[in-house]
């Protein structure tokens, strides 16, 4: 059955319908990873988005429970050059396309994804929709334009926990006994697992939880999670974050990084088409090491002088409402901010995904550094947040 994808600028690509027989509208973004399709579509950060996979063959190893990053599929739809159902693949519990259908997610295959991606790369991420061939283009366009643009959208509310949950450790390690209180803006299971496997107790709280409520849990640290949408639209969360900074160590990943930055008074902006993939080189400015990172974000933090990109490879400082913040990580692809440390209060962030899932494991050690820094007492230690890996 024929289907097509229509972008808000009128660009149209043909394909065949797959997955659920439905249409879907969202921000059309592309992901350049070559594996990990199931992890991606179940990552809550993709809420409200249609994922175009640049790797042409999707579904080769089927789907299985162990690849879930959350309980549900959050991507609105999936665009592929070729998709397959391979429930008989070794280790598979189901077929990819069938599973998408069961989850009610429409997909489209046979699309010249490279041409589509080049278009988005040149024009920027934009709204679009996946429609069955029978839907008229006019009607399709109306629906696309009816969708709110991504800037200014609060999607955290859609993906957050309704009720707090407390999760026990899954192992021993740097985090033994630590109580990590997380604001759940759509946290990935890999993050939770990495904390718990290192011995930490992890609490997930709804995103509207206030700073008082958070502090009342007397956390060893507050964790700010990844999540969908525009950080600039999440002032209610930023408020609670302001309330905890300086009182307990705070660590943020992805959206969490952006929220902490806004909480201390820094600005965020929308990237033209974002970073989504598993091959971005990020330089740790303290150690000089380069790590290949997993990325999934459409917004980024502005530099100390309001610049979008940082030219020099040396760390620099922001003056924040909470003292100095030091640039700790830099993206070597487009030289955007990838992480910073608060120098005068205990806090640190990274824009990318050290938990991988999917992607390389180069940065898993950040979890050890973070948890170890909690164990390590003195404020200056703490403030260093994530100090150099001992290799």
């Amino acid at each position: 059955m024929s289907a097509y994808i229509l972008l808000e600028d009128g660009t149209r690509f043909e394909g065949e319908a797959a997955g659920a027989r439905a249409h879907a509208i969202g921000e059309v973004v592309f992901n350049t990873a070559m594996s990990g399709y199931q992890e991606s579509v179940t990552d809550p950060s993709y809420r409200g988005q249609i994922i175009v996979f640049t790797y042409p063959l999707v579904g080769n190893y089927g789907v299985s429970a162990k690849h879930m990053e959350s309980a549900a599929v959050h991507a609105r739809a999936v665009v592929m050059r070729e998709g397959v159902d391979r429930e008989e693949a070794p280790g598979a519990e189901g077929g990819w396309l069938t599973w998408l259908a069961d989850c009610g997610i429409p997909a489209i295959t046979g699309v010249d994804t490279r041409a589509l991606v080049r278009h988005i790369r040149d024009r920027g991420a934009m709204r679009g929709g996946v429609f069955g061939g029978e839907v008229s283009e006019g009607e399709a366009m109306e629906r696309v334009l009816a969708e709110l643009p991504m800037d200014g959208r609060d999607l955290a509310r859609e993906v957050t926990q309704r009720e707090p949950v407390v999760l026990d450790p899954l192992g021993e390690g740097a985090g033994a006994g630590a109580r990590i209180v997380a604001i759940d803006t759509g946290i990935k299971d890999s993050i939770v697992r990495n904390l718990r496997e290192r011995g930490a107790i992890v609490e997930l709280h709804p995103c509207h939880t206030t700073s008082e409520e958070l502090l009342a849990r007397n956390p060893d640290a507050v964790f700010l999670a990844n999540g969908p949408g525009d950080p600039a639209a999440l002032d209610h969360i930023v408020e609670s974050v302001r309330g905890v900074v300086g009182k307990v160590p705070v660590w943020g990943i992805c959206l969490g990084h952006q929220l902490l930055c806004r909480a201390v008074g820094l600005e965020t902006f929308k990237l033209p088409f974002g970073h989504r993939g598993a091959n971005h080189p990020v330089k740790d400015l303290e150690t000089g090491r380069i790590e290949i990172t997993s990325q999934n974000h459409g917004f980024a933090v502005l530099g100390p002088h309001g610049e979008k990109t940082i030219d020099a490879d040396e760390s620099m400082r922001w003056d924040t409402d909470f003292g100095a913040a030091e640039l700790s990580q830099l993206n070597l692809y487009d030289r955007t901010v990838e992480g910073l440390n608060l120098k005068d209060v205990a806090g640190a962030t990274v824009q990318y995904h050290p938990e991988a899932g999917p992607g390389p494991h180069d940065s898993l050690h950040l979890f050890d550094r973070f948890l170890a820094s909690l164990a390590g007492g003195q404020p200056e230690h703490r403030s260093a947040g994530l100090d150099a890996p001992r290799r």
């Binding site: 350049t32 990873a33 042409p56 063959l57 010249d112 790369r121 091959n279």
Partner: protein, 1033 residues
């Protein structure tokens, strides 16, 4: 830390002749490295014995030594050049082993040469199977259960522990040489014995078998800051048990989940750190059990490899280039990504297409070799294809192979299914046939152990799914980043989509399309790629855009730096026309890629595509015997009497008219495929029995004991300029590609030479050649000149000649094809006689095909060539032998067994070898003849005469040189065993008297001491040409 300033002169080692397991990919990596080092302002000293390489072009190094690649000879170059550093990671296992030996014998330290790009301990930890195992254990990584043995006794004791089947893997060999699978105790002993013999350190690893597990390779780069990136993952469609070089492979990996893949990635990084490769590329191979997720490390190559060349072409990430930069001090982040030009090299390429590599085999040339695949490499080349999907890439790769043998699919279904359980070179054709006959995918997976995903994809194709049907061809770019950034580098492939959206950025300059030579194969190898690269350089110099079409990942021509636009496409008419439609070129060059593009010439012309150079009519006229015959008559030349027949019956009828002995072959073949000498009607009938040739058959009178001459000449339609006249060492009857040849000629008088010149001119002008022509002549008796064939194209010998005479013939030819006239160029060097002698020697793969006869004949069997240069002929010949790996002994025992025709000259030979202090062994007749000359000789029994016999003596290592001439149909059976034994032990085995007397003179020269190595740059310095030629040597 940027560029190192504490070193200024760097020695780079090539990989020597093209052999199975070590092919043109090292010219690609070596050439890239040399370019980079020169750009960085270093002096580059290069040693490589292979003249057919781009890297040995004088402009690629400060000093280029075409010298044997062994420690002694490299040490001589070091003495002369005193480099500061040695970069050994770009010349394959050969270079790495030489570096290891020169470290062990103290040469490098003594002469103050620093190893860069690899350190000694890392090399040993990776190449020494025992150390490697321990290193992995310490790093907490699993390897297959295994024992390392260095004697048969230890192996016997290990057997119970390992069990059968067992995998025998010699240390420090490449391409799995000397290894294999042992399924029975007998095989076990055979393999271990072979393995111990093959390993330079008498060490074999005996592994528990993981046959059937998935085989994966990762290509890594590491810099001195310990940053590591994975450039590419490669999955073998053929599971463990088939050498990766013989496997159909796919990039990126297809069947692993992200979690499984990341586990491999973590382990690969652990391996490179544990082995301690400080800077550069490494290839790491894994076996993965898809059911249990178990991973075992199979091996790591601490250097640029075949797979890394493939990975570079598959991703656009130039591994060798970057490895060279890392070796001289740069960090990955300090190097730009060539392709995007805006991002650093410290990243991991991500690709949005599928790459399939398919090996190219040549079993048809080695009757006796059974065609089954194992853990040692047997393929002679490979083709790579890029497609939007696996299916698109797979069918593209299939057609890129240009097979000239159809696999037998006739057998009954049961036999067919069973045959699939032993992988063979035609396994996929058989698999497809099985699918067509209704075999289920699950059954086929069980029998072949191929992953179900691949099986499903291939089965769909076998059932007739056409992944191109209903779609439009479009050209997409290879960009290392899945379109996340704009690609600056014009490296394209064709994909099929609903609606064509092209990415080709074709400026408004006129372009010239150069057709490459496709996968390497015996008869059409790297020499042709060399010519194509020269054509590209010349077209660019002429101010036009050079456009390259080729599908061979091992080559320099498919380096995106070589041309203005590279199209990685099969060389079939429709694929080529696809590119031409896109390019609208000023013209197409079909003259440099060997027979492959020549076959397309007519089709291109019919499609209205302008050809540059020699017109298609001339090509036909040269290939069509009758019309070529008429041309020869017109200009008063003769060719051997011949007849053509359209069937075996007819052939047998007309044979008498031609006269025996005769040479029979099917028409339109390169490398003398299926060509044979028949001394009688019976022999001829036997030939038809065996080969069943289809189509036209040629019968030529075979000129016995004729001297063969090869000529490469240039012609612009009017003027003819001889490039060189080469005299073959072996007589006519040994394929020109397999016989040694020498420049200048050694035994031709001035009047014969001028006859040859006139004949060459007459033929070139008669055909109307514009560009290059290669003519083979035979001098029969004292003064009868016969024309054997004329090829109106670049020949296999063009690189050798270019290096011998110091004029790049292919470039000159290309200028002519672009409209220049020979008379307007300065080619004086071609008329002046060189002050040195150059000998080309062929390198033969018999060692790889133990069951095939190590005998030379009119069908070409060599995979590569080497060159020896020296002030005189014997020294040059000796060097060539040494470079070919069959170094002549300076003393010891020689065994001689020749046919009656050769007995007279054999006795002379025996006498002089005796004078040189050799002990002489010979079989009956030969021994008598020798004794009559009063030369002491020990008579040896032939194999057929019972034990003790010569074969046993050879196998026991009691012979240092074998001279055995089997002419005609006689004396083969015994000779076969003798030659097999010699080849197996790597003893030089000379099968022609002419070769033997050359060897004898060379031995004399060797004992006189090695001549000083001289770089090409000095050899061809203006002054050098004026030296008097040692014609008389």
């Amino acid at each position: 830390m940027p560029r190192r300033d504490d070193i200024s002169k760097i020695l780079v080692l090539g990989s020597g002749p093209i052999v199975i397991g070590q092919a043109a990919e090292f010219d690609y990596s070596g050439a890239q490295a040399c370019k980079v080092l020169l750009e960085e302002g270093y002096e580059v000293v290069l040693v490589n014995s292979n003249p057919a390489t781009i890297m040995t072009d004088p402009e690629f190094a400060t000093a280029t030594y075409i010298e044997p690649l062994n420690p002694a000879s490299v040490a001589r170059v070091i003495e002369r050049e005193r480099p500061d550093a040695l970069l050994p990671t770009l010349g394959g296992g050969t270079a790495l082993n030489i570096a290891r030996l020169l470290t062990e014998d103290g040469t490098l330290e003594r002469l103050g040469v620093e190893l860069i790009g690899a350190d000694y301990d890392a090399i040993r930890r990776a190449e020494d199977r025992d150390l490697f195992r321990d290193t992995m254990a310490t790093a907490g990584l699993r390897v297959p259960n295994s024992v390392v043995v260095s004697s048969m006794g230890e192996a016997e004791r290990a057997l119970p522990e390992i069990g059968l089947p067992a995998i025998v893997r010699p240390g420090f060999t490449m391409g799995g040489e000397g290894g294999g699978i042992a399924r029975t105790e007998v095989e076990y002993r055979e393999r271990v014995a072979e393995g111990l013999a093959a390993s330079p350190i008498n060490q074999v690893l005996i592994d528990e078998s993981v046959i059937g597990w998935g085989e994966f390779e990762l290509e890594l780069m590491r810099d001195f800051k310990d940053n590591v990136v994975v450039v590419c993952s490669i999955e073998n469609v053929d599971p463990m048990g088939v050498h990766t070089g013989d496997s159909v492979t796919v990039a990126p990996q297809q069947t692993l989940s992200d979690k499984q893949y990341q586990a491999l990635r973590d382990q690969a990084i652990a391996v490179i750190r544990a082995v301690g490769v400080e800077t550069g590329g490494s290839n790491i191979q894994f076996a993965v059990n898809p059911e249990t997720d178990e991973i075992v490390v199979i091996e790591m190559n601490p250097r640029v490899s075949r797979s890394s060349a493939l990975a570079s072409k598959a991703t656009g990430f130039p591994i060798a280039k970057i490895a060279a930069r890392l070796a001289v001090g740069y960090a990955l982040e300090e190097i730009d990504n060539d392709i995007t030009r805006v991002t650093p090299a410290s990243f991991e390429p991500t690709i949005d297409y599928v790459v399939v590599k398919w090996p190219r085999f040549a079993f048809e040339k080695f009757p006796g070799a059974d065609g089954s695949l194992s853990t040692y490499m047997q393929s002679v080349g490979e083709a790579m294809a890029i497609g939007r999907t696996f299916k698109q890439a797979f069918v593209k790769a299939m057609r890129s192979r240009e097979l000239d043998v159809e696999p037998p699919t006739g057998r009954d279904t049961q036999a067919l299914l069973e045959s699939l359980e032993t992988p063979s070179h035609e396994r996929y054709e058989l698999l497809f046939e099985a699918v067509r006959r209704g075999a289920s995918e699950s059954e086929l997976c069980k029998r072949t152990l191929i992953d179900p995903w691949f099986m499903a994809e291939m089965a769909a194709l076998a059932r007739g799914e056409d992944p191109e049907a209903g779609l439009e061809r479009c050209f997409k770019a290879v960009d290392t980043c899945a379109a996340e950034f704009e690609a600056a580098t014009p490296y394209y492939y064709s994909g099929w989509e609903r609606q064509a959206s092209h990415e080709v950025r074709r400026g408004d300059k006129p372009s010239v399309v150069i057709l490459g030579s496709g996968p390497n194969r015996i008869g059409q190898g790297i020499e042709f790629d060399y010519c194509c690269v020269h054509a590209a350089m010349t077209v660019r110099e002429s101010g036009r855009d050079a456009v390259m079409i080729n599908c061979n990942p091992e080559t320099v021509s498919t380096d995106y730096d070589t041309s203005d636009r590279l199209y990685f496409e099969p060389l079939t008419l429709s694929d080529v026309l696809g590119v031409i439609e896109m390019e609208k070129p000023e013209g197409v060059i079909v003259q440099f890629g060997g027979q492959t593009p020549l076959k397309l010439a007519q089709g291109l012309v019919d499609a209205g595509v302008p050809l540059l150079g020699t017109p298609v009519e001339a090509i036909h006229r040269a290939e069509d015997r009758p019309s070529f015959g008429t041309l020869l008559e017109e200009v008063g030349l003769r060719s051997p009497p011949y007849a053509t027949a359209s069937s075996a019956e007819e052939a047998l009828r007309v044979a008498g008219g031609v006269g025996y002995p005769l040479l029979v072959r099917p028409s339109y073949v390169l490398g003398g495929r299926a060509m044979e000498i028949c001394y009688s009607k019976e022999a001829l009938a036997g030939y038809f029995e065996r080969t069943r040739p289809s189509g036209e058959i040629f019968l030529d009178r075979f000129l016995e004991n004729a001297i063969e001459i090869d000529v490469d000449a240039l012609c612009d339609g009017e003027t003819v300029q001889i490039g060189a006249i080469m005299q073959h060492v072996e007589e006519a009857g040994i394929h020109s590609g397999d016989s040694a040849c020498v420049i200048p000629t050694m035994s031709l008088g001035p009047e014969m030479l001028s006859q040859v010149r006139q004949a060459t001119a007459a033929i070139a002008q008669g055909l109307g050649v514009i560009g290059l022509i290669n003519i083979q002549f035979a001098v029969y008796g004292d003064d009868e000149l016969y024309v054997i064939e004329a090829n109106p194209r670049a020949s296999r010998t063009v690189p050798f000649v270019s290096k011998a005479v110091g004029v790049p013939l292919a470039k000159v030819a290309c200028r002519v094809m672009l409209g220049e006239r020979l008379t307007d160029m300065d080619l004086s060097r071609l008329s002046g006689s060189p002050g040195h002698v150059a000998v080309k020697e062929a390198v033969l793969p018999f060692g790889r095909f133990p069951r095939a006869d190590a005998l030379l004949g009119p069908e070409m069997k060599s995979t590569g060539e080497v060159m020896g240069v020296a002030p005189d002929y014997p020294a040059a010949f000796g060097k060539a032998q040494e470079a070919a790996g069959a170094g002549l002994p300076s003393g010891g025992t020689v065994f001689i067994s020749v046919t009656d025709g050769d007995k007279a000259s054999a006795t002379q030979l025996a006498a002089s070898l005796h004078d040189l202090g050799f002990a002489v062994l010979a079989t009956g007749g030969t021994a008598q003849a020798i004794r009559r000359m009063g030369v002491p000789v020990e008579r040896m029994a032939k194999l057929s005469e019972g034990s003790p016999n010569v074969v046993e003596r050879i196998e026991a290592g009691g012979v240092d040189l074998v001279i055995n001439t089997p002419t005609g149909s006689g004396a083969r059976a015994d000779g076969w065993e003798i030659r097999r034994a010699a080849t197996a032990r790597g003893i030089p085995c000379i099968t022609t008297m002419s070769g033997a007397s050359a060897a004898q003179r060379a031995i004399r020269a060797i004992r006189g001491g090695q001549p000083e190595p001289i770089p090409l740059q000095e050899l061809h310095a203006p002054s050098a040409a004026t030296l008097i030629s040692p014609q008389t040597a």
